[in-house]
């Protein structure tokens, strides 16, 4: 098991934009792909307060994440991360929002995509306005991690 502050964990967190986050309800597994942003000792996710993910972590805060390090690492290695999640109403604090903007909307590839799709920003705003439970966010504190290979480890 890798420590949360080990170099390889930091590398994966830096080089991954999307995680698969696995959570559970009383009887069923649930997984969703979602953007995340490292800031301080926490991974930040924005999601509606009434989404299935938010409801799950309120009752079962232990979650498991998969990171592919898609920005730099070659395919084949995946980092599996164990984390403790807490759900909060409202948007994350401003410093986190700034990091989210820099990471997902203003990064070189992101900005080009945003500008190409400027005509659909209004639709996106409406999509977010319809999110269940209104704005919320989840804070993840990493408790451990392990390196895996796709389709070859459990």
């Amino acid at each position: 098991m890798l420590a949360p502050d080990s170099p390889i964990v930091r590398e994966f967190l830096r080089n991954s934009l999307v995680m698969h986050i696995a959570s559970r309800s009383a009887r069923a597994p649930f997984v969703t792909p979602i953007w995340f942003t490292p800031h301080g000792d926490t991974l930040w996710i924005t999601t509606g307060s009434g989404t299935r993910l938010a409801k799950n972590v309120e009752r079962h805060p232990e979650v498991v994440l998969l990171l592919w390090g898609e920005r730099h690492r070659s395919r084949g290695e995946v980092l599996r991360v164990r984390a403790r999640a807490t759900c909060h109403a409202g948007l994350p604090p401003w410093p986190v929002l700034v990091r989210i903007a820099l990471r997902f909307y203003l990064a070189p590839g992101a900005l080009a995509s945003e500008l190409r799709n400027a005509g659909r920003w209004g639709l996106r705003a409406r999509y977010y306005a319809e999110v269940k439970g209104g704005p919320g966010h989840i804070r993840l504190v990493v408790t451990g991690a392990e390196l895996m290979r796709t389709g070859s480890s459990t």
Partner: protein
Amino acid sequence: MSVTRDVELGAVRDLLVRPTRASITFLDGDTVAIVPARVRFVDDRPLVRLPADGPDLSGREVVVLTDDGPWWFHLRGASFRGTAARDEEEPGFVWWAIALRRTLSWDYGAVREV
């Protein structure tokens, strides 16, 4: 009118051929487990390869997730919820077939009013 990013599975069929990210999620006792998976599809039904000494998924509810894209308008994916059953074996590995209960597919680049 509401806004959706949901699409028919056929709109993201390339993800079934060569998924960028793929995983399988299931309950393991009191905890949730997720494993990066090698997935192939036969008639839009997923088969997942796991090590032979991995978890016994027989009869268990699982979710297979494949997705792609880093930026908002590039995010696409599909999830498949169902019950796992042992299928083919190959040296060191087992292929698990999923009897589907629910499939969901999305493409944020196709966001629209419905």
